[in-house]
Amino acid sequence: MINHFAPRSRLPLIALAAGAVFALAGCTSDAPAAPSAGDSSTGVPASVLSDAQSLVDQYSGIPEFEAPGDSFDATPLKGKSILVVVFSQQAAQLVTLADGISAAADAAGLESSSINADGNITAASAAIQQGITQGVDAIILDGVPAQLVVKDIAAAGDKDIPVVASTIGTSYETPGLFGLSSADYVLTGKLMASGAIVKADGEAVTAGTLTFTNPAVPDALTGIQEVFDSCGSACSIVGTTNVEPPDWGTGLSSAASSLINGNPDINTIFAVVDDTMGLLASAGVDATSNTGVTVVAAQGSGAGPLGVVQQGGAFSIDPGQSAAYTGWGAVDQAMRAMLDLEPGEDITPPRYIDTAVLKGLDVADQDAIYGNAYVDGFTELWGLSK
């Protein structure tokens, strides 16, 4: 066969293709057009700074247990089975949450088993179907994006198997779910914004945000925006870049650099989960080279991110919540479902965490950071305290 594409003629084709790719990339960028930067000559109103400080102070202590609903007797549920579908055991927060579920199930005398979906939505779907086939008494989704398994949730409902979702935020509604156990990520967003304002100490806050596709992210952004709206022109978000988890290793650093280099006024980066913090160091935003940029993360989970915050410098704010508490909350919801009770308000209370809060604490010890009042709280609520 004659090759009509002699080597010399390939260059224009390659150039054309490269141009098309760049054109496509330009046409489909998901970064919003940058609004005008906050006027750095205008400081944050004193009342806003005061409110921010109040919110920070309110949540700086170890969270107390908050009963999600009326107490009930869990003893009739002994021997019932629950299936935990963990979306990915590579996420430390989800593993801690699964451990919390397991501990709570043990305390209540439930039989629990878990399946790791390895980040694969089809595997998560298969796991739910397996739970239905096995006839488990309840299914708990640990980090599984519930909106992507709506049909499986409905199938479980058809077999009267309640499904509880955890860590996906509290404002998300998925048909068929019995209930949620999660942090209030809107509140987390408010804590992030308030922390940034306090840290700026009255100066304008000009921020860039790093996000990814996750049900909790819009909630956190809503919380940030609510605080910023009260701040007037002194607080602004001048750029948002979406970087999906598979690209974190390569994309986060450059995204942060682009945000900072493209907007010289930026003094705050909101990184919506703290797993990303270590990857931002090479963007020139690190603890040792004080660039004047503060990284405000969320989730307060795991020794790695908290260790970075403990060191101080740019990475200094990381409000979060106990994933183990969320796990106990998920079991609470599952038991309410099995007893035909109304769903509880299982919202894991947050803690505002910054370098000062972590001073002298063992960051690997979640109980030292968040306390474990929830263990006694839930067992008493379930009528199981000795």
Binding site: M1, F5, R10, L13, I14, A17, V21, L24, A25, T28, S29, D30, V86, Q89, S113, S114, I115, N116, D118, G119, N120, I121, T122, A123, S125, A126, A127, Q129, Q130, I132, T133, Q134, P145, Q147, L148, V149, V150, K151, D152, T211, F212, T213, P215, N242, E244, P246
Partner: protein, 327 residues
């Protein structure tokens, strides 16, 4: 075939041949027996079988397409990106106020064909490295998926197609029966038509195939288009099964798809990529994974199992392929 000491006698030869052909099938059977004994109440049930078959449809559709392109001697790493992009595209377009599900499905399938054509343009015409081209295409499609979905999860509007994908026949999801139909077509074409023979000739030696009159370029382009089209179909089935779509939805399928195809190449017609083998390979992975999960074994064991099986399969396929060519 070159005789080795271990296969000197005709009887030994027959046994070795049998084991070569059916070792993966035997492994599936052995795992089924093992897990059935260990977990009779949960593993050895009709419900579990139905679940395994239903949930493997997407992987099998991708795997069948991949079998064709690998048999032609090329590779395609863009399949996961195609699944994500086409799933998101179909979901976004199928709302009644947009194109409706029928036109959305057609547009999505055309998109799959176009992606295959672009891949083949660079691989076959420009002679760029297939690994790099398809890897880049997968990355490009991941980006486009985020753009089309605006980095949000999208709910799939209800439609007759959506209902059909969720429907069951003998307790098994319709996509599985569709996959069986696809398997029969691919098997027939590869095993019983001149086109299939041309594909295998091309995969085993392009120059030799060209010299005996095979239109190698056409074969390779067709194979790459089939691979992308299969991934596009898988994208539609995937969002139909889950009821929603988001960027990156197809990414976890890349490695299992390759694992299934290479496991398949180590069975039935050892050393040769074949569609029935691909299905057996996928079943081996699914049975192993499900059984280990039902045993309650730590999840890292499952990953070790999947990775280990793939290494064994690739090695077996390479050894058996070399032996078959020598013969």
């Amino acid at each position: 075939m070159t005789a080795s000491p271990s296969i000197a006698s005709p009887r030994g030869r027959t046994l070795t041949d049998f084991l070569e052909r059916y070792v993966v099938v035997l492994a599936v059977a052995a795992l089924i027996v093992l897990f059935s004994v260990a977990r009779p109440a949960t593993f050895f049930t009709v419900g579990n079988l139905q679940t395994i078959l239903t949930t493997q449809s997407v992987l099998l559709i991708i795997g069948l397409g991949l079998t064709v392109v690998l048999a032609a001697g090329d590779l395609d790493l863009s399949i996961a990106g195609v699944v994500s992009f086409c799933g998101v595209l179909f979901t976004q377009l199928s709302a009644p106020e947009r194109l409706g599900w029928q036109i959305a499905a057609i547009v999505t399938l055309i998109a799959g064909v176009l992606i295959g054509l672009v891949n083949s343009l660079f691989i076959v015409r420009v002679k760029a490295n297939a690994l790099i081209v398809t890897l880049a295409m997968g990355t490009l499609l991941d980006g486009l998926s985020s753009a089309v979905s605006n980095s949000q999860s999208l709910a799939l509007p209800a439609s007759p197609l959506d209902a059909a994908i969720s429907a069951r026949f003998f307790g098994v999801g319709l996509p599985f029966w569709f996959t069986i139909l696809l398997l029969v077509i691919v098997w027939y074409v590869l095993q019983h038509t001149p086109s299939g023979r041309s594909l295998y000739f091309t995969g085993e030696g392009r120059e030799a195939a060209r010299l005996v009159g095979v239109r190698v370029t056409r074969v390779r382009v067709t194979a790459l288009v089939i691979s992308a089209l299969a991934a596009a179909i898988a994208g539609i089935v995937l969002v139909g099964q889950s009821g929603a779509a988001q960027a990156g939805l197809g990414n976890p399928f890349l490695l299992p798809a390759y694992a299934s195809v290479f496991l398949g190449a180590a069975t039935l017609t050892p050393g040769r990529f074949n569609p029935v083998g691909t299905v057996v390979g996928a079943l081996l992975l699914a049975v192993g994974t499900t059984g280990l999960q039902l045993l309650g074994i730590a999840s890292w064991v499952t990953n070790v199992f999947s990775g280990g099986i793939l290494i064994v399969a690739v090695a077996a396929a390479a050894l058996l392929g070399a032996r078959r060519i020598r013969a």
